[in-house]
């Protein structure tokens, strides 16, 4: 366990370098984007004078080095700058949006993991049966259906036609059901396929035969001896999916009018609101690193052979 703690400290220290690299990359990428932020912000009818005043105000007339220096020294003090659009601190803009994104990602991941693992186990245990084929077909649909299409379909059915669930927004507790389901569809499908493959491999192992030879009932063989081993590669998929959901919920958030960080990112890019975009990307990078550390610890818990 001490090795694991040292590993985590090492990972976190190394990730500081990663974050530094990310900050440079996103900074430069934004500046090579076509379109002058001052002109975009000032609007179509603004005079040349107004635009240059705005440019000065935003510090965009300074050299890149000076601009970056200002950005990174701010970051080190926990200051991500101000939004050009709203003039509010970027940290405040992000903080407002994080809970909605986080809850959506967590709920979708929980749905995806529970349903995906259960479906994968059933498919593996009943391989080549009708149930297995049915699960495979649904999973196939899950990975190939575009998110906005599935989202619109669900809205049409459950909100418009049946009127059971709210179509958009986040005002009611039930509002999360449709966006979370939409978001979970892909993960569920992916996790179920991974679980099935992993289970099939594990169920063919010698130690499964040992468990059966001991007289263990099927449930014990499948869950205690099978799934505990099969879950190790599935954990990787789940964590990758969670990471993707944190960052990639843009379409779902748009379709369902969900006030998450994905929409803030898209809107900010469109408005050339550099400070907000930089801030969001840095927060994402930090979140990914944290997620990886958590997963490293989980590996140690589920697989005794892994020690750092």
């Amino acid at each position: 366990m001490r090795g694991t703690a040292a590993h985590i400290v090492r990972t976190l220290l190394l990730s500081l370098i990663t974050l530094f690299g990310v900050s440079i990359l996103i900074f430069l990428m934004l500046r090579v984007l076509p379109g002058d932020p001052a002109r975009v912000l000032a609007g179509l009818n603004a005079s040349e004078e107004q635009v240059s005043r705005l440019r000065e105000q935003l510090g965009l007339d300074e050299s890149l080095l000076t601009q970056y220096w200002g950005f990174i020294t701010g970051v080190l003090q926990g200051d991500l700058g101000e939004s050009a659009r709203t003039s509010r601190p970027v940290t405040a803009e992000i903080a407002v949006r994080i809970p909605a994104t986080l809850i959506l990602a967590v709920v979708a991941t929980v749905i995806g993991s529970v349903v995906g693992v259960a479906a994968g186990v059933i498919a593996a245990v009943r391989r080549n049966s009708f149930v297995d084929h049915a699960i495979s077909s649904v999973a196939m649909m899950g990975v190939s259906m575009p998110v906005y299409w599935l989202g619109l379909l669900l809205i049409l059915l459950f909100a418009v036609t049946l009127g059971w669930l709210p179509a958009a927004g986040s005002a009611e507790p039930l509002s999360i059901v449709l966006p979370a389901t939409t978001l979970a569809a892909f993960s569920t499908a992916l996790i179920s396929r991974m679980t099935r493959a992993s289970m099939l491999e594990v169920l063919g192992q010698d130690y499964i035969r040992t468990a059966e030879a001991k007289g263990a009932p099927p449930r014990t063989v499948i869950i205690k001896h099978g799934l505990r081993n099969a879950f190790i590669p599935v954990l990787t998929v789940i964590s990758l999916q969670f990471g993707a959901l944190l960052g990639g919920a843009v379409l779902t958030e748009t379709v369902f009018g969900w006030p998450g960080i994905g929409r803030l990112l898209v809107d900010s890019i469109a408005a050339r609101d550099f400070a907000v975009v930089q801030g969001i990307v840095l927060v994402y990078a930090a979140a990914f690193i944290l997620l990886n550390v958590i997963v490293d610890v989980l590996y140690v818990v589920v697989d005794p052979r892994i020690r750092y």
Partner: protein, 347 residues
């Protein structure tokens, strides 16, 4: 002789494969008596493991299926009893030790948990502490040093020999009446094979289990078995007690196994392996399936046309050969060729 604990009658187990139906076990019958060690010997692929898996009801289906026969344990047919009842016998009345201890233990459970599980599966009333204490006793019995510490370790922290000892502990945990050891030392380093066999012997003596020792090594049989079943191409070709079989094998295949056995008193290059390769179990040779490799047959028609039954050849010895009486003479020839008295008792 007392009545057998386990009787196999006409057991036939097949595998349906794309290439055809593999007759892995083909009309096999034998008895296992209380307290004895029955050696089952034969080349790789002769159906030894499939016989063991058939007894435990663990033949994968599909592709496997038991198409005929009965396996009587305590007078009850294992093949027709319900899955639940059979499960209660597995691991309690019939213990099994597998070939490869590196892969036969669950990597994510401690060795101790796996032994304790064997106990608790068959004794609901056993508390965790009791199961632990008993498991540590078992680990001590199979000669695992520092059993308390070893209990909490995972399989990857144990050597092959230690793991196989743990497998033996698991198999004898519930004092089984029958212990099946399928090539228990084949996967182990030669230097620890003897130790593990000693442990197996001790375990067997303590529990007084009738033991089926499956091996491709006739030398192991000589040392550890009381009686021997020789399998070839899914069939039993010879049954005898160990002394008789080494003094006078009555099936040419058994003789072939003996002359190909490495011995201290025979130089390696003078060993005499059986020519040819094991038969295809999908398309067995006609008549006696050993005839294409047989040096006793000498091309006689009956070997190609008639399947030899297991003939009684005297002294409880039986051999499935049309010319079993010619085998001892052939052995003398082989012995002269090897420059040793191959026929004089066990190695």
């Amino acid at each position: 002789m007392s009545s057998p604990v386990l009787s196999i009658r006409g057991l036939t187990t097949e595998f349906v494969t794309p290439a055809g139906v593999v007759k892995a076990v083909n009309d096999v019958s034998w008895d296992l008596y209380p307290g004895e060690t029955l050696g089952v010997v034969g080349e790789s692929g002769s159906g030894k493991s499939v016989t063991a898996m058939s007894i435990l009801g663990l033949v994968q289906s599909p592709p496997g299926r038991i198409v005929a026969g009965e396996i009587l344990f305590d007078g009850r047919d294992l093949l027709t009893m319900s899955a639940r009842v059979l499960r209660q016998l597995r691991g309690s009345q019939i213990g099994m030790i597998f070939q490869d201890p590196m892969t036969s233990l669950n990597p994510v459970l401690t060795v101790g948990q796996q032994i304790a599980e064997a106990l608790q599966l068959h004794d609901r009333g056993l508390s965790r502490e009791q199961a632990r204490a008993r498991s540590i006793e078992l680990l001590t019995m199979v000669g695992v040093p520092n059993p308390e510490g070893r209990y909490d370790q995972y399989p990857h922290e144990h050597s092959g020999g230690m793991r196989q000892r743990a497998m033996i502990a698991m198999a004898i945990a519930n004092d089984p009446k029958v212990l099946i050891a399928d090539e228990p030392t084949t996967a182990l380093d030669v230097t620890i094979q003897a130790q593990v066999l000693d442990v197996l012997r001790t375990a067997q003596e303590r529990t007084d289990a009738a033991t089926i020792l499956i091996t491709h090594d006739l030398g192991l049989i000589a040392e550890h078995a009381d009686r021997v079943i020789v399998m070839y191409g899914g069939k039993v070709v010879e049954v005898a007690d160990v002394l008789s079989v080494f003094a006078a094998p009555r099936h040419p295949y058994t003789l072939g196994l003996m002359t190909s056995l490495p011995r201290l008193d025979v130089e390696l290059e003078r060993l005499d392996p059986i020519p040819g390769s094991p038969p295809s179990l999908i398309d067995l040779p006609t008549g006696c399936s050993f005839h294409p490799r047989c040096r006793v047959s000498k091309g006689r028609d009956v070997c190609r046309t008639q399947v030899p039954p297991l003939y009684e050849v005297g002294g409880g010895q039986r051999a499935a050969c049309h010319f079993s009486e010619e085998v001892p003479a052939e052995m003398a020839v082989a012995a002269r060729a090897m420059g040793t008295d191959a026929g004089n008792g066990a190695p």
